[in-house]
Symmetry: C2
Subunit: 181 residues, 2 copies
């Protein structure tokens, strides 16, 4: 089942946003467990408008200058968001090309693996730093929004996961470097 509308609805509860904002927010803050492309977001927004799940918020439209269209959730939107929240989750769809290569490796492609481990470490380190700084900025306003503490909890997990990935790839690289494998 498509979940685009629920992410949108979830974000709009907190703050009025344009399609562009939504896409950016998802692909930065939420990037370690989600992403969306414009090709999904814009058509979905118009669909949701028709269904009355969101509406344009003209209040802030001018403040921001541009022809930007900001949206808010309607009561109906909040309702279907809550229904989704309460429902049992589908099985995750996880696909990692790096992990796939690590799994399928053998002696013939040892040097490729070393390269991919390096990239893997780098990417996880970058994300780790991103989440740490995001968590820091949230902590400063922990009282401001009641949902901040939930996001912080979530980030805590992301940080732990990135750390595990970094440690593992570092160790693995060292083992390969010392010819232990």
């Amino acid at each position: 089942m498509k979940k685009t509308r629920y992410v949108i609805l979830g974000l709009l509860r907190d703050e009025n946003m344009s399609g562009y904002d939504i896409r950016n927010c998802i692909n930065t803050r939420m990037s370690f467990f989600w992403k969306e492309s414009y090709g999904q977001i814009y058509p979905e927004l118009n669909e949701m408008l028709k269904e009355g799940l969101i509406k344009e918020s003209n209040e802030k439209a001018q403040v921001d200058g541009r022809g930007k269209i900001k949206y808010t959730t309607t009561d109906k939107g909040k309702e279907i968001f809550c229904e989704w929240m309460a429902a049992t989750n589908e099985k995750d769809t996880v696909r990692s090309e790096a992990l796939l290569k690590f799994f399928l490796a053998d002696d013939a492609n040892k040097s490729d693996i070393e390269k991919h481990l390096k990239d893997f470490y780098q990417q996880n380190k970058e994300r780790l730093d991103l989440y740490l700084s995001f968590a820091d900025s949230l902590k400063q306003f922990a009282e401001a929004h009641n949902n901040h503490k939930y996001i912080l909890k979530m980030l805590e997990l992301g940080i732990k996961q990135q750390k595990v990935n970094c440690e593992w790839s570092k160790e693995y690289m060292e083992e390969l470097g010392r010819g232990l494998l």
Copy 2:
């Protein structure tokens, strides 16, 4: 880019397999970072046959009884597998409905979150046990195949990840239970 053929090629290097075998192997051993459905595997196998990346291995066909068709990689298949192995990885496609809900939670859906945390813990625990037993069985034949040590390394990461997820969700549940959040 579709990666189905590379998984297939990777598995076939090690052992002759049928489409059914391949699908089972992916959806059990590799389930924490990959999956494929019959609708992808069978058409892909026929496509690969046409392109000369794999061929039927009639040797073992009878041994197994059934009308099972087992495949092996050809030289050309090995070649394109190696090319893929050496290439830089695409960004991962990660989508977890559970994590999405944890991120989008607020006080209004606290009880939903508790339920999802319970499920999350349960699923991660089950996977953890699965990988532990898989790792155990591989360790017994660690010398048999030169690729076993790479798979073990990979499983090591999977095990660490599952553990982190279990610990995090357990802690989170306790905090919620004690009304700390």
